[in-house]
């Protein structure tokens, strides 16, 4: 029997994996993928709750998240390309003109 808790745990694990990826991976493309993972973990949470509560609102939210994520990743990749053209690398450690 797969219960709500299973879905919540799975999405929490996915979210944390994504967050860890954003923080520790150095390749820009991988970081963008990790961000997608985080957003999809959120989507899974919404869907699970939506099903559990019997309310449609969560699923509508997911549609919006998907649209926004697509736009965000489009801009993200565009910026990555622009950075690569200038620097010849997508390693975030090399992108350090300004101190953090």
């Amino acid at each position: 029997m797969v219960t709500l808790q299973h879905y919540l745990f799975l999405s929490a694990i996915l979210f944390v994996l994504g967050a860890v990826g954003v923080m520790f991976r150095r390749n820009l493309i991988v970081i963008l993928m990790s961000l997608e993972l985080m957003l999809n973990a959120v989507n899974l949470t919404f869907i699970a709750f939506s099903r559990y509560l019997g309310s449609i609102e969560g699923q509508i939210f997911v549609l919006f998240v998907m649209v926004v994520a697509a736009a965000e990743v489009a801009v993200g990749l565009a910026v990555a390309v622009a950075v690569f053209r200038q620097k010849g690398t997508v390693d975030v450690n090399e992108i350090n003109l300004m101190k953090w």
């Binding site: 954003v22 970081i31 949470t45 709750f49 509508i60 300004m98």
Partner: protein, 481 residues
């Protein structure tokens, strides 16, 4: 039969006008070969003015639209106006900046208008979904704007950092929203308020609330979620930095206050302590870090972090006086900071060659008006009477004292005393020192002169005659309570 919901576009007319103006600029840009910037600026200003006219009826309204998703009230009216002021002034300060650098980019104005429309949705939201959509509309436009300078490596790097951290914070915000949804069953503010009022708040809802708070803290650049701010502010084009420090911050604070006061007020005891801590950290770290900067954009970035701390005091103070103080403060800050960044854009010259504090040496000799204007803006940032910044700080601090948060006010007063040091260093450089090399003549454009004039009049006028504006702010927060 599916009932057709009542659709009334009147309420979101200001945002629609801005979107339309953006589309018009986009179309015109295709047909105009040269000088697209000037045309784009004229159309943008027209759009901003029409939107301001369309915004006026909101002041008297107090209702919801779009099946309860959008709030049309005085609070929305006030922030729409604030956003329009900052968008308008940014357009004026940007024209010369872009043409001087040989950037004939009408896209800049398109994105600026779309970002402003996103902010308007964000401040009028009555549902977390609208907050999210507005937030992302504005963020994605701003990511592109930050990286718009084609040859600047810093600009690209800033865009990248902003995008990564912005998307990360959005994901955290969303996860919080998902957890709140699971607890309350809906993300509409009235439903959330009902859930929090009922008193049986689950642990999951607390976690969700905390994550939403972190998402907002990122956007308003509160310590310890401020790491992106100095880099992004340094790398972005100077007029846009002004827009980010004012427009984006105001919109984020508006939604922050709306979400926490309208829907989570019963759980106030739980979040107020966290915001207390954020405010204290933000003020201390922002002001201390600003002291050691030698790049003026970085210094103003840390100063804007510090100002987020003062604004958070208003949130801690609560009741009606705290948020009302924040509204007045944001209005004062809009004029002050846009003026200051206008001067930075002007002095910076082509390719932002002069953005060090040392580049301001002897500005009073070569350009007395500019030095005077910059001094007044810096006085206002430091909170010295008779400028608007003083009245803003005074109202927020007195609201906090009335609410019993003496220690927070002590920290606020001490740190703003420390801030006088770094603001005055620039004034000293302008008036007391002489430049090493003879600088080239600064060229004012009429638009820049107009923008600086408006900012200057704004800072002084609402500082000397604050009563009307304080009443306005008090009136505008009424719908929240």
């Amino acid at each position: 039969m599916i009932p057709i919901p009542e659709v009334n576009l009147g309420g979101i007319l200001p945002a629609l006008v801005l979107c339309l103006a953006g589309l018009v600029v986009m179309m015109l840009g295709l047909f105009i070969r040269r000088g697209a910037v000037a045309t784009a600026a004229v159309v943008s200003i027209a759009g901003v003015l029409i939107a301001a006219a369309a915004n006026t009826p909101l002041r008297m309204m107090d209702k919801q639209a779009f099946a309860g998703l959008i709030n049309l009230d005085a609070y929305t009216w006030f922030f729409n106006l604030l956003i329009l002021i900052s968008a308008g002034l940014t357009v004026l300060t940007s024209v010369r900046y872009l043409t001087d650098d040989g950037l004939d980019m009408y896209e800049y104005f398109v994105l600026l208008l779309f970002a402003s429309a996103g902010m308007m949705f964000m401040v009028s939201a009555n549902h977390l979904l609208i907050v999210f959509v507005g937030l992302e509309t504005l963020s994605i436009a701003i990511y592109v704007l930050v990286g718009i300078l084609p040859s600047s490596k810093k600009s690209k790097e800033a865009a990248l950092k902003y995008l990564l951290l912005g998307a990360f914070s959005s994901a955290v915000f969303l996860y919080g929203a998902a957890l709140l949804y699971g607890s309350a069953g809906s993300l509409g503010f009235p439903e959330l308020a009902k859930y929090f009022k009922a008193g049986q708040i689950s642990r999951m809802a607390y976690v969700g609330m905390g994550m939403v708070l972190v998402g907002f803290a990122f956007k308003v650049a509160a310590v310890p979620f401020h790491m992106w701010t100095p880099d992004v502010y340094e790398g972005a084009p100077a007029p846009l930095t002004g827009f980010m420090s004012v427009g984006v911050k105001a919109a984020a604070f508006a939604a922050f206050v709306r979400v926490f006061f309208q829907s989570m007020l019963p759980a106030q005891m739980n979040w107020i302590e966290i915001i207390w801590l954020l405010a204290a950290l933000t003020m201390v770290l922002g002001n201390l870090a600003a002291i050691v900067q030698d790049n003026i954009k970085r210094m103003l970035a840390y100063s804007s972090i510090a100002h987020a701390g003062y604004l958070l005091i208003g949130m801690v103070a609560g009741k009606e006086a705290g948020p009302a103080g924040m509204l007045y403060y944001l209005l004062a800050y809009t004029f002050t900071n846009l003026g200051a960044f206008g001067v930075v854009a002007l002095v910076g010259r082509k390719g932002e060659a002069n953005v060090m504090i040392d580049d301001y040496r002897g500005l009073a000799k070569t350009n007395p008006f500019l030095a005077l204007a910059m001094s007044i803006f810096l006085f206002s940032l430091a909170g010295i009477p008779p400028t608007a910044g003083f009245v803003g700080k005074f109202t927020i601090f007195s609201a906090a004292i009335n609410a019993g948060y003496i220690w927070l006010v002590v920290i606020g007063v001490l740190t703003s005393a420390a801030s006088v040091f770094y603001y005055f260093r620039v004034v000293m450089k302008m008036y007391m020192e002489v430049p090493e090399t003879q600088p080239a003549e600064l060229q004012f454009s009429p638009a820049m002169l107009l923008a600086l004039g408006i900012a200057l009049v704004g800072v002084l006028y609402i500082g000397v005659f604050p009563t009307n504006y304080l009443n306005l702010a008090a009136l505008s927060v009424k719908p929240l309570f």
